[in-house]
Amino acid sequence: MITGITGQDGAYLAELLVNKNYIVHGIRRRASLFNTRRIDHLYEDSHQSSAQLFLHHGDMTDTSSLMHIIQKTQPDEIYNLAAQSHVAVSFEEPEYTANSDALGTLRVLEAIRILGMEKHVRFYQASTSELYGLVQEIPQRETTPFYPRSPYAAAKLYAYWITVNYREAYNMFACNGILFNHESPTRGESFVTRKITRGLARIKFGLQNCLYLGNLNSKRDWGHARDFVEAQWRMLQQPSPEDFVIATGEQRSVREFIDAAAREMDMQIRWVGDGVKEMGFDSAGRCIVAIDPRYFRPTEVETLLGDASKARAKLGWTPKTSFAELVSEMVREDLKEAQGEELLRLYRQPAKAGTHAVASAS
């Protein structure tokens, strides 16, 4: 069972598990727009006997929905990936973030316990490098003390410890994967990496003039989500439950990510100025990257770098995708998308004029 199956990681994990012949049950929130785009390619009509993927409506803030789904589906493994996962949004919606990310995790653990499934269910908690926040040592390992700096991080800290506690108090097979940033072409458009590749691709096709970003100096350890969900699965196949840092061990700044993405698109960015005045110009002298202080976090997490030695030693896990390959894949997909958008725009242009004429005539 996967909570948060409609998200980036949920979709990659669902694909991994379907390929391993699992029956996958996913929990999704009801929303007014379709939110299953990332898993549509895995979905078969549930009436087909070959169907392996089933979706259920539920919500991390609704105890009874979680209880009901877990009871009905009797999973062997539960991957808790559902969360309000955007750090900046957590400053605006702290209570909702705490309710879904912190207490939501507890609700799943409690459901397992109350249903008497704690002896055989294996539980994975999606913890995060944001727990390290104001980092206490570099690089960060499983033993590095936490210093959360956002409502998101405080909520995830609660979820981390409650997972440890259920492992110790009830002998549950419960693990935390402390995942550093992991990206992909299906990363949400408001996360910085995707915002960059999508923005530059749209600029290249003339769909957008400028990309506005926050702190270009933030340093992150960026891996590929496809590799990282593999580590999640491996954690639950271990003889005993433990917590693991999952990271690439390489660090780059947001500015370096922009440069790498631009190079992939045969664009050159010339940086001028610094601080909030910093701007990136293309070869034609147009400003295509600028700073919008609105995107600064109230409390910045400057640097994150993970040491995944333990995962390498115990899970035999190493990232397969290099930074260059990650950027290249994201750029490729966003160029395709921008190209599609551009074609659609060109195609619609004359029609749009016609529609307008009809509208005014009526």
């Binding site: 705490a98 207490l103 991080a153 410890w161």
Partner: protein, 336 residues
């Protein structure tokens, strides 16, 4: 006149703080669980000098209405579900709500209504849990080991984060065990002193305790709330560990308590070896060096004095109950 809002005013700490602030000339608003008109033994003697209000800390609107209405200059948050960790295991979601998210709501209310309000969160030394170093100070990493302390840790970091992010004068006081005659009887210290008074007066024969060798850092509650008040008078907001820096065993506590009434604890106390909970590998001892230096905080009672004070109060209250019982008995037998 400065105004202070004390959540959980009917508890041990809330009641001591109310007395301290009344003495310092504050207007005091206190929240209680359930109807404000109900009796709350620890603050009944203050009725008339403090204002009680019912607030639902699970509801943002209820909190904001209260803050808006009273406009306190200082808020002290003692409201919490009880730290007896067995309850935190029984209803962990509610514990997370009351001890964790409620603090977030209070801070959000301060941010929305008046960011100059000073806030002091009562954190617990239990957030150190299975700490790897001893004694613990403000820089010691946290290893909480039950749902209560995990919720308290969430509240601690949320307090720190609102100070850093929003510039609030928000402080977290990390309190080691603090006792007093107002400690509820389910806590071992009060259980002992209450039993001593009853054994001395012939109402009870034995006292059954779990682990006589368990050691704790025990201080006097009235001193701890004074430190919290000092924290909010300081020029800058910060977090402080509050403890005595020394530990004593439950056995030490028993010896001093029984000695005080001329009895030998070994004749009355039995150890229940079966229900032993595993003791943490590292001792929890509070290093309050920072509070001593920065706040000039001092303890008013030694450990021995604290134990004797608690025994004396329990003796007095048992005697009072006896008098009442005799009165009732006499009244019931009196000819009508």
């Amino acid at each position: 006149m400065p105004t202070a809002l004390i959540t959980g005013i009917a508890g041990q700490d809330g009641s001591y703080l109310a007395e301290l602030l009344l003495h310092a000339g504050y207007r005091i608003i206190g929240t209680v669980r359930g109807p404000a008109s109900a009796s709350h033994e620890r603050i009944d003697h203050l009725r008339g000098s403090i204002e009680l209000t019912e607030a639902n800390l699970l509801d943002q609107h209820s909190i904001e209405k209260m803050v808006e209405k009273y406009r306190p200059g200082e808020i002290y948050n003692f409201a919490a579900s009880h730290p007896a960790s067995s309850q935190s295991f029984r209803d962990p979601v509610l514990t997370g709500e009351l001890n964790g998210i409620a603090v977030l709501r209070l801070l959000e209310a301060i941010r929305a209504i008046d960011p100059t309000i000073r806030f002091c969160q009562a954190s617990s030394a239990q957030i150190f849990g299975n700490a790897h170093e001893s004694p613990q100070n403000e820089n010691t990493p946290f290893f909480p080991a039950n749902p209560y302390s995990i919720a308290k840790l969430f509240a601690h970091w949320t307090t720190v984060s609102y100070r850093h992010t929003h510039g609030l004068f928000a402080c977290s006081s990390i309190l080691f065990n603090h006792e007093s005659p107002r400690r509820p009887e389910r806590f071992v210290t009060r259980k002992i002193t209450h039993a001593v008074a009853r054994i001395k007066t012939g109402l009870q024969k034995f006292l059954r305790l779990e682990n006589l060798d368990a050691r704790r850092d025990w201080g006097y509650a009235a001193d701890y709330v004074r430190a919290m008040w000092l924290m909010l008078q300081a020029p800058v907001a910060d977090d402080y560990v509050l403890g005595t820096g020394e530990t004593h065993s439950v056995r030490d506590f028993c010896r001093i308590a029984f000695d005080h009434v001329g009895l030998d604890y070994r004749q009355y106390v039995t150890e229940d070896t079966e229900s032993h909970q595993a003791e943490a590998s590292v001792q929890l001892i509070g290093d309050a060096g920072k509070a001593r230096t920065m706040l000039h905080w001092r303890h008013s009672l030694t450990f021995e004095e604290l134990v004797r004070l608690m025994v004396d109060c329990d003796l007095a209250s048992v005697a009072q109950q006896n008098t009442n019982r005799i009165d009732t008995l006499a009244a019931s037998r009196a000819p009508t």
